[in-house]
């Protein structure tokens, strides 16, 4: 990285979106601004990179061709047939302040091209270590060649208990007739802030099947933009977020149906307990001429605490004629009838609550499209849920 233009970075940070911006109405990036400025004040030193042993412990959980991106630097790359690895050219960005920050601070961008059917899933491990206040950027471009068939595991973790702000960008191009199965697991430390922009473009008769999990983090903002650019494209994506005290998890999705026929389906589920806030905003835009669009979006929330807050909003803009679009959102509490049924079988209220919340989450876990990732995702979801439900201070359901 060249000599850091500290004043320039400060100016970018000053232009971060605020709650006055419509897309950021419910998510205040103040913690990201604050971390960035304190990091600059402290000399903007690159954070320490995770040790090999920690990385190996994580990557050994799933048998995959792992790329390890530690604090934004590629520290491990696989050697796999059909996978070409390159560097992204540096670019100036001015689309928004977060993209600008990414471009200004990025140490190296990774470009991965895949053809054919790799023998194992590709893994992207984003690991951020913060022993003192830190900021990191990562940028990955994944290009799936026509007719390729790929499993992808994207895993975000963090270490160290200092505050960290990770700003990541992932761009995926799925060429004609290619298929991508994608699992995304975000299991960051509760001191960490992440803004993650993911943009996926689908070609003719291509497909995306994706399940995402947001289990950790203090402030998490995911922007998932999907472009159905060619006829016959199908994007099916689901997400689960589990939030407890002092967590803020925001999922903004946007699907652009540029042509038809094409299919998009999304279902996000959330379980909230304690003083937390979650946001789901699902926008589907059916552009002029995109006849034959079939779109569905759903967001279901289980709110276990009066202190938890959820803002859920489906947005549909249709500029074509022959379109089938639906949406549904729910916000509810535990089903008392089911709770009584379980208690009448001898399970106490807390156990019954755990069983029912787990079942609610399991509905999404069962859809994980990458077989190799099921066990890890299940393990992390169960552990997070146990923590979320079991803590008597956090949990005013059992009170």
């Amino acid at each position: 990285m060249n000599q850091l233009d500290t004043a320039g970075i400060r100016s970018i940070v000053g232009r971060f979106p605020t709650t006055r911006d419509e897309d950021w109405k419910y998510t205040d990036l103040a913690p990201a601004r604050d971390i960035s400025l304190r990091w600059l004040d402290a000399g903007a030193t690159p954070p320490a990179v995770a040790g090999d042993r920690e990385v190996t412990a994580l990557t050994s959980e799933i048998d995959a061709h792992w790329f390890v991106i530690a604090n934004g630097t590629l520290t491990r790359r696989p050697d796999a047939t059909g996978v070409t690895i390159g560097q992204l050219p540096a670019t100036d960005r001015n689309d928004d302040a977060l993209a600008e920050l990414n471009a200004a601070l990025l140490r190296e961008g990774l470009r991965i091209q895949v053809s054919g059917t790799p023998d194992k899933p590709l893994g992207l491990l984003f690991i951020d270590t913060a022993d003192s206040v830190a900021v990191s950027q990562a940028r990955v471009e994944l290009v799936l060649a026509a007719h390729s068939d790929v499993d992808l595991v994207e895993y975000h973790v963090s270490q160290g208990h200092a505050e960290h702000f990770a700003n990541t960008e992932l761009r995926i191009d799925i060429a004609d007739h290619a298929r991508l199965r994608h699992v995304r697991i975000q299991s960051r430390d509760r001191n960490h802030v992440q803004t993650a922009a993911t943009a996926i473009t689908l070609g003719r008769d291509s497909s995306l099947n994706m399940t995402g999990f947001d289990l950790g983090g203090r402030l998490i903002r995911n922007d998932l933009d999907i472009e159905l650019a060619q006829k016959g494209a199908a994007a099916v994506f689901d997400g689960l977020y589990l939030a407890g005290d002092d967590q803020h998890i925001d999922n903004h999705t946007r699907v652009d149906h540029l042509v038809g026929p094409a299919v998009s389906r999304q279902e996000y589920r959330g379980i909230l307990n304690g003083r937390c806030r979650c946001v789901w905003n699902g926008k589907v835009i059916v552009h002029e001429g995109a006849d034959g669009t079939d779109g569905d979006q759903a967001n279901h929330n289980l709110v276990l605490s009066e202190k938890a807050e959820i803002d859920t909003k489906p947005e549909l803009e249709i500029y074509a004629d022959d379109v089938k679009c639906s949406h549904g959102t729910t916000v509810g509490q535990l089903d008392e009838t089911a709770l009584f049924y379980l208690r009448s079988r001898g399970l106490d209220r807390r156990h019954a609550t755990q069983v029912l919340t787990h079942a609610f989450a399991a509905g999404l876990v069962s859809r994980i499209p990458v077989a190799a990732a099921i066990q890890l995702a299940e393990k992390l979801v169960i552990a997070r849920l146990a923590d979320l439900i079991d803590d008597p201070v956090r949990n005013d359901v059992t009170a």
Binding site: D335, T337, A338, F340, Y341, L342, R343, S344, R345, G346, L347, D348, R349, H351, V355, L356, H358, A359, F360, A361, A362, G363, S366
Partner: protein, 250 residues
């Protein structure tokens, strides 16, 4: 075993039980019959501890303890089992998990070790075979997508595994075809023993052809208006509930 005295209960502003008394001893099978809305299901729910039903008077003593002050899960662990009229579907929780969790909750309550996984599977499969249930049901979501008959068999399976001291079966016979009815009755009869008591809540006499009750009670307007032996059920079947109501009124 169970002593109900002058029990009064309401849900919301509606008074349903209006001074019900009933005494059930170990080894006995009681049938509680009555028209719709007479309070049969309310009685079952109150015994199991449903919090929507407020007890406004009277007492319920179970094995010498005040039952009404116990949480539903403690009642279950102490040996009370309610077979639901409408068993609840719980997608995502498999049957085996619930059975094991229920058994272990009871065992823990008694200071016993958790059930051995092999022993559990073996017993569950035996019980399922005798109920005519496919062992695959063990790994399906609790009652998820089950037919009416499958749900009722599943209730009986839970009962057979938990071996309750007091089983209350709420309209377990409703919606069953004859094969399912026989299987369910066989399951209940297998549980009969001098240490256990069974209360059958039913609208029709049909179930009692297969499970012979020691006592039959007629519930009407939230009270037991008549008690007798199993001939009372036959008489009811022939003459209808109005006959008892009229007989009591005069």
């Amino acid at each position: 075993m169970l002593e109900i005295k002058d029990l009064k209960s309401r849900i919301g502003d509606t008074e349903i039980l209006r001074g019900l008394s009933l005494s059930v001893n170990a080894g006995e099978v009681h049938a509680i019959m009555g028209p719709n809305g007479s309070g049969k299901s309310t009685l079952a729910q109150v015994i199991a501890g449903h919090e929507d039903y407020e007890v406004t008077g009277g007492s319920v003593t179970y094995k010498g303890r005040d039952l009404l002050e116990l949480d539903p899960e403690i009642r279950a662990r102490e040996g009370i089992f309610l077979g639901f009229q409408y068993p609840v579907e719980i997608p995502g929780v498999n049957n085996a998990y619930l059975l094991k969790a229920a058994l272990n909750a009871k065992r823990k309550h008694r200071g016993e070790p958790e059930i051995d996984a092999f022993e559990f599977l073996k017993t569950a499969k035996e019980r399922m075979a005798s109920l005519g249930m496919d062992p695959k049901f063990l790994h399906r979501g609790v009652n998820e997508g089950f037919s009416g008959g499958e749900k009722k068999r599943n209730e009986i399976l839970q009962m057979a595994m938990l071996e309750p001291e007091l089983a209350i079966l709420d309209e377990t016979d409703s919606g069953l075809d004859i094969d399912a009815l026989k299987a369910v009755a066989a399951g209940v009869n297998a549980l009969r023993s001098p240490e256990r008591a069974i209360i059958l809540v039913t609208h029709y006499q049909r179930l009692l052809d297969y499970i012979q009750p020691d006592f039959v009670h007629v519930l009407s307007g939230g009270r037991i208006i008549r008690s007798g032996d199993k001939s009372l059920a036959l008489e009811l079947e022939a003459k209808g509930y109005d006959w008892v109501r009229e007989a009591v009124a005069t």
